[in-house]
Amino acid sequence: MKLLNKVLTISACAMLSASIVTAKEVKIGVIMPMSGPIGGFGQSANKGLEVMHSMNNKLDNGDTVKLILIDNKSDKIESANSASKLISSDKVTAIIGALTSTNTMAMTKIAENAKVPVVAPVATNILVTKRKEYVSRVCFSDAFQGEVAANFAINELKQKEAVLITDVKLDYSIGIAKIFKRAYKKLGGKIVKNVRINSGDTDFKAMLSNLKAMKPKFIFFPVYSSEAGLIAKQARQLGIKAKFLGTDGMTADKVFFKAGGKAVEGFYGTNLFSSDAPKTTELSKKFDDTFTKQKNESVHPFGVLAADSYNIIVAAMNKCKDPADNVCVNKNIRATKNFKGASGVISIENGDAKRSAIINIIENGKEKYLTTVNP
């Protein structure tokens, strides 16, 4: 009996001391596509998140912040299930995710019902935040980017006629294209040809040969890196000489530069962030350096945005008496004003981010900063 008593006492003391010594842990759920067709984007975003977390993983009051990552396999059902698990099983206070607009929308209802804030790093479709109280994003919406592109095309590039290439499989592409069309027409531009492609296509020669016959001067193509790189390369192979304007999806993955090679020199692109833009905040410089040191490569725009989603949540938590109080955290997230994040200055209004867009030109295989457009 004596031994049993001893054991019991010791374990009781151990547990007691453990609970005193361990500071509280606040959990943030992360839902990203780490495998499946857009697994690459998720992996890049997550790298940025990891670095940011390593730079700042404690709240002001000493609590540690824990990230719980779930791979949604680029799938909607998984996104919904993951959100449900994080909220009811893991009891997270906030969720970062899920990259694409459609996957994010699969989980917003669950989050709204549970009153758990969702911060989307990259979901750009306007429907993601519309009429929601608990969903915010740190990137600008398709609407903004489409307008920026149209303005740039007319005012800076002075192109009054455009060929529009839309990826019909991508809601991102469709969303931006629609706004671009509207804004471009309003400014007096004319879309001379509407071309449709599918993500996953690799051969664009037939389509491009048709275009070549029209001798186009300006092409706007809000598509992702793989398709953009191949289009650029094949356009050059066919001898098409036109000005190309892309969006943030174009340069999102390095494969655009590698596959496009010489073909992408002189391309213009709108973006959320540029690694050589005059750094608007201290944090972005620090983040950039730390990332390059830790991962041996330059940071991907999605990674920076994921990092900022994290930053905004942490900042909101710090403002709450109980950092695990999801309603309070959400209130503070939605009230973010002029937050100096790693990707620039962000203000959140009704869940949408008000931030500047950057326009880059590709020079020597890298994005070179051209100008900033403020909202």
Binding site: P33, M34, S35, G36, P37, I38, G39, G40, F41, G42, Q43, S44, V168, K193, V195, R196, I197, N198, G200, D201, T202, D203, K205, A206, M207, S209, N210, K212, A213, S225, S226, G229, L230, K233, R236, Q237, L238, G239, D253, K254, V255, K258, A259, G261
Partner: protein, 298 residues
């Protein structure tokens, strides 16, 4: 459409068609001998492309050596697939074989996904393939000439093997009636292995050409290509090697033609292969070359 554009589109069609042709041959040979649609065939092509990518990028070997490595890797993968997954099921109902093939296909895709990560990889082909040749308004790259030539060359070699060598005769005999042939003392497993070697090697070549022409690799790139190549094989006449090549070219041309003549239908491009497939299977399942398995050989 003016003449120059027409020539340009013609070149595009030849280029695309020959790549489908190379991969279609593998499908048709395996089907001819095993009556199995090897769903995993296109994934073997993908594995070859990734092997070459790995060789060039991480091992930093020359392009030629990388190609050889890729061919070796795909041949080994093909043989393993047959030995491990298909051979034990030789005498099982076809449905089991088909489901297993689907399983192997998924397995290969996901193993590559786990090993290399899901980000698209860019393939560094030698600069030579990128040079632009102007031909009175139409532009081409060396690949456009090399691929069809190599395809036809390989096809001729294959036909020679099939019709003029003992092994070829064995392969054709197996395609005709596998049970009786085994009774005649021919080691059917060995012959089947040879079929997989040839098919996988051709898929590897197709994969390398594909990687040169469209230098972005993803683990799932084989899926669409495989289905289209299979459609091409069926179109030309499943079981016929020349049919596979013919089918490949027809499919390539049609895809280009549809986009060229009806650009609004551009988004439906992928469905064309399936439409062909369904029409052929429903109206004339034996395809263009009309191979009827009850009475035929390659």
């Amino acid at each position: 459409m003016d003449f120059i554009t027409f020539i340009q589109q013609l070149i595009n069609g030849i280029s695309l068609g020959s790549m489908y042709a190379l991969i279609a041959i593998g499908y048709t040979m395996v089907y001819g001998v095993l009556r199995l649609i090897n769903f995993a065939h296109a994934d073997i092509m993908m594995v070859a492309a990734f092997a070459a990518f790995f060789a060039i990028d991480s091992l930093e070997v020359s392009f030629v050596l990388a190609t050889i490595i890729a061919i070796l890797v795909s041949v080994v993968t093909g043989i393993l697939t047959d030995r491990v997954a298909y051979k034990p099921l030789r005498h099982s109902p076809r449905i089991s074989l088909l489901i297993t093939a689907i399983g192997v296909s998924f397995f290969l895709e996901n193993i590559v996904n786990v090993t290399f990560g899901g980000t698209p990889k860019s393939f560094n082909a030698p600069e030579f393939f990128d040079t632009i040749i102007e031909l009175s308004g139409a532009t081409l790259t060396p690949t456009v000439i090399i691929v069809p030539v190599v395809t036809v060359l390989l096809l001729s070699i294959l036909l020679f093997i099939l019709y003029r060598t003992k092994y070829g005769m064995a392969i054709r005999a197996l395609a005709f009636d596998i049970k009786t042939v085994s009774l005649m003392g021919i080691d059917s497993n060995r012959i089947i292995m040879i079929v997989f070697i040839i098919g996988s090697a051709l898929a590897a070549v197709g994969g390398i050409f594909w990687a040169i022409s469209y230098p972005i690799l993803t683990p799932y790139m084989g899926v669409m290509i495989g289905l289209k190549a299979f459609a091409a094989a069926v179109l030309g006449g499943i079981g016929s090697v020349s049919g596979a090549v013919l089918g490949g070219f027809i499919l390539g041309f049609t895809e280009v033609a549809v986009v060229a003549l009806y650009p609004e239908l551009g988004a439906y491009k992928d469905a064309i292969a399936f439409v062909f497939l369904i029409i052929v299977l429903v109206l004339k399942p034996t395809g263009i070359m009309g191979i009827n398995f009850e009475k035929s050989r390659f």
